[in-house]
Amino acid sequence: MISVATLRRGCWALVGTLSAGGCGNSLYVGSDLIWSARHDSGDLAEWSSDPESLLDPADAANIRVSKAQVHRGLGALSMTRPAMSAEGGPAIGHAADLPDEAYYGAWFLLPQDYTVETYWTVLQFRSLEPTDPDISGRATDLRLRRLPDGRFVAYVFQHNDGYLQAPLSDPPPLVQVGRWFHLEVFFRHATDTTGKIRVWLDGRLVYDLPDRKTGVGLRPWFGICSESDDADAVAFEVLADDITISRSRATPDQMLDLP
């Protein structure tokens, strides 16, 4: 029986003499990407083009591009929370030309099994130009909590007394140390209850949180971070790569290389 692979090879051989257009290949019809960071240049140029990428300039000391472990390409973003006693950690983000709603995706790697006792935020949304100048603009975090067996569970935390931590989904969204995983969030920024949050882990919908206030300011800010409340002498490093903001979902077959 002739297999599809055999047909495909034969087709390629025939068409190769006819055209460089290919046979049975995919036709690339366009892009819904709003912004992306792939770190192949070895620096943070993709981030630094936005003047609002670093809300705290001091974070720059703990943010770099690592070439040691990458998801794809030549580099990955490395975020290290230094050993510190105060709550927080470095964050880098993007806000330029963001619509009120979009899909935000990133590949993450936890390179080591850190004994995180509180939480570890790796992705967050904030609001810029807050309506109340006395609030921080923090809006929504995507956090990890370490389980006794060494795995981490992902959950949503909103800096809003009306929501706070969303109930864990069942089965719980688990991630493993040393393995790249993909988080994608549909985030509709709203200062009223028309906001919406949906989260996919490796293409599986794990949180669907509609009808809620998701912002406190005029514009959204999307960031990658390594924040925690652990008062420990250990530094936490998280790697992130192939970060996308798009008008349509990237998963499950994310394609960032042009055909």
């Binding site: 599809v4 047909l7 495909r8 087709c11 025939l14 068409v15 006819l18 055209s19 257009g21 290919g22 046979c23 049975g24 290949n25 995919s26 036709l27 690339y28 019809v29 366009g30 892009s31 819904d32 990407l33 709003i34 992306s36 995706g105 996308t244 798009s246 008008r247 349509s248 979902r249 990237a250 998963t251 077959d253 994310q254 394609m255 960032l256 042009l258 055909p259």
Partner: protein, 338 residues
Amino acid sequence: MLGHNVPVMNWAARMGRALQLVTGIGLALGEANARASDDGQAIEQRIRMQSGNLCPTAAAVAAETWGLTPAHRRAVLDELREVQIEDLGAAYRIVVTTAKGTKERIYQGPERDCEKRARFVAVFVVLTLMPPEGHLPDAAVTETPSPATPPPSPETSKPNLVPNLAAERLFRLELAAMSEQGIQLDGANGIRYFGGSLRALMGRGVFTPALGVSYAALGHFDTGGVQGDLARAAAHAGLRARVRASDWELGAEVDAVVVTSRATATSLLHPTSDNGIELGVEAALLVALPTKIFVQPFLATSVRWIPVPHGLTAQPRGEVGVLPHLWIGASAGIALRL
């Protein structure tokens, strides 16, 4: 993509060939023919003249018939029951009755060359008894005079069964408006589009090579949340079989197809276009309405199979869909016989 004339035997050519053949044989056997005058008289007795004018005469027709019949086939003359000849002045009617039925023709002969008429009646009788290819056509066609036996002018006796003059044309061009629907199959996405096609056929036989092109720019796809336009141009090369059934001309065609597609997204933030080539096979059925002029309307339906169709990709999602493997088409158009 359709329609065709049934291949029609050139009656005049057959008569000419048969005449040459039997004439040669007849000359060779001329002496023996003379010795068989008694048998010629038997033929003459079965010839009935339907009018007072005797052009040709029964005797002349009998002699020509005997002479044209090969010696080893003369037993077939026993099947001849009656030959009626009616001299109409500028024309003459022949009715040949055999054990298998009756054949009738009317021929023009304004010059009243009785010897020529006798020879032509004899040819008609012999070919009725011994059809060149198993049967005699039901209708007369253009009589092409052969040098040896210049025939009378033809006249159609049964117009409804007479193949068109144009049916003998070597070239056929078909113009059609078409619609194709891609069938959702194996995860592919359905697509419909409209366009036109041009096809050329050359030949007169049952099997005719066919070449064609088609173009459709009015296709749209909606797959995986991505909408767009699809233009497709195809080149066909294949073989068509043509038959005549009842009052219709039917055709069946098998082609190899090369399809070039151009897809353009319309719903993405940064739309673009891309081209590609697919290979496939196509089968088509055609029905055409016989006409006497060089234009002939036709309808066709086709099925196309693309083993390895294109996928459609967009950033950042990747593959958003696949063009269909299976396409079903319909077309309507006219054929020009040149």
